[in-house]
């Protein structure tokens, strides 16, 4: 067998692989769904409630049990909608990709945050950790990192890393420039992350359309 033939075979296999990859990518939808959910959660963080720690100290924190409740309903719902989308899309296009590792990672991280609270909350709400921090964004970012790996999508991987550091950056910006406005650092992070997810979804949609 000549080297040209070997090279041709490998090139042909690579081309076939990239066509399949382009056909099964659907991250734009997931980014859009979770962008909308994150954006809808932002106003809930304006409210504040008092939290008691095991040593008896207490402090005011943003969000609260209703934010926990929101995420405990919204996160599984979001993944359910995405799973349905991926299934319908596979039926339509004739190519399916693995998505369960993404769903399992995302929901697993949410569950971990919901049932391993960092402190003791007034009223012993178990989902407290999800309720007043940016942890939902970390759960989403971790999930998207897995989706990026499954879809061999370097842009989504880079976006997931940005999502990991976004709460820290937004928190600092809020503390330095915006704290007087009476919102909350976490709420501000959610607002920015929601807009970023929606923009990411729109860009991914354009990219996926072009690749096909």
């Amino acid at each position: 067998m000549g080297t040209e033939t070997a090279r041709d075979l490998l090139d042909e296999a690579d081309r076939a692989r990239s066509r399949a990859r382009a056909g099964r990518r659907g991250a734009w939808f997931a980014l859009t769904v979770f962008g909308a959910l994150v954006l809808a959660a932002a106003p809930l963080y304006i409210a504040r409630e008092i939290t008691t720690y095991p040593d008896g100290s207490s402090m005011w924190v943003s969000g609260g049990w209703w934010v926990s409740l929101y995420w405990l309903i919204a996160a599984p719902l979001g993944y359910l909608v995405c799973v349905r989308y991926y299934r319908r899309r596979a039926e339509r296009t004739g190519v399916a990709g693995a998505i369960w590792p993404w769903v399992a990672t995302g929901l697993g991280l949410f569950a971990l945050m919901a049932f391993v609270p960092p402190g003791v909350v007034a009223g012993w709400i178990p989902a407290f950790a999800v309720g007043w921090t940016s942890l939902p964004l970390f759960a989403l970012a971790g999930g998207f990192l897995v989706l990026a790996w499954l879809e061999r999508n370097p842009y989504l991987a880079a976006f997931s890393i940005v999502l990991f550091v976004l709460p820290e950056v937004c928190g600092r910006i809020y503390d330095t420039f915006l704290a007087w406005r009476g919102f909350s650092g976490v709420g501000f992070s959610m607002l920015v992350a929601g807009v970023a997810l929606l923009c990411g979804g729109a860009l991914a949609r354009l990219g996926e359309g072009r690749d096909r």
Binding site: M1, T3, A6, R7, D8, L9, L10, E12, A13, D14, R15, A16, R17, R19, A20, R21, G23, R24, A90, E91, T93, G94, V95, A96, G97, A98, R152
Partner: protein, 111 residues
């Protein structure tokens, strides 16, 4: 030098290699998708799939989507292994050919 000892005749064919490459990338693909993506006729694709299926490299499921019959194809564990072995063998062949002039120069300078 042909590297032929490592090449699997079932996979060592342009279309079958491409079919396995598509299936490795996707968890499953439909007959129509494979046909369009690889630009094959239905008869041609069926023949290649039969060969791959009898070698145990793909699994074929037939079903319906509404009233429309659909054939889904998945790569098996041994299909994945065969594809990787073939790609590795082809790459190693290309590497050896690329190294050949350097080896010849080295032999000449030592001789």
């Amino acid at each position: 030098m042909n590297g032929g000892a490592q090449l699997d005749e079932v996979v060592h064919q342009r279309n079958r290699l491409a079919i396995l490459a598509v299936l490795e990338e996707a968890s499953k693909a439909e007959f129509g998708f494979l046909q369009t993506t690889l630009d094959l006729t239905p008869g041609n694709l069926s023949r290649h799939l039969e060969i791959l299926e009898s070698a145990g490299y793909v699994a074929i499921e037939k079903g319906y989507s509404g009233k429309r019959p659909r054939t889904w194809v998945r790569i098996t564990k041994s299909g994945r292994a065969a594809l990787r072995a073939e790609v590795a063998a082809l790459r190693s062949l290309l590497r050896r050919v690329d190294d050949l002039p350097q080896t010849r120069d080295r032999a000449r300078s030592e001789g």
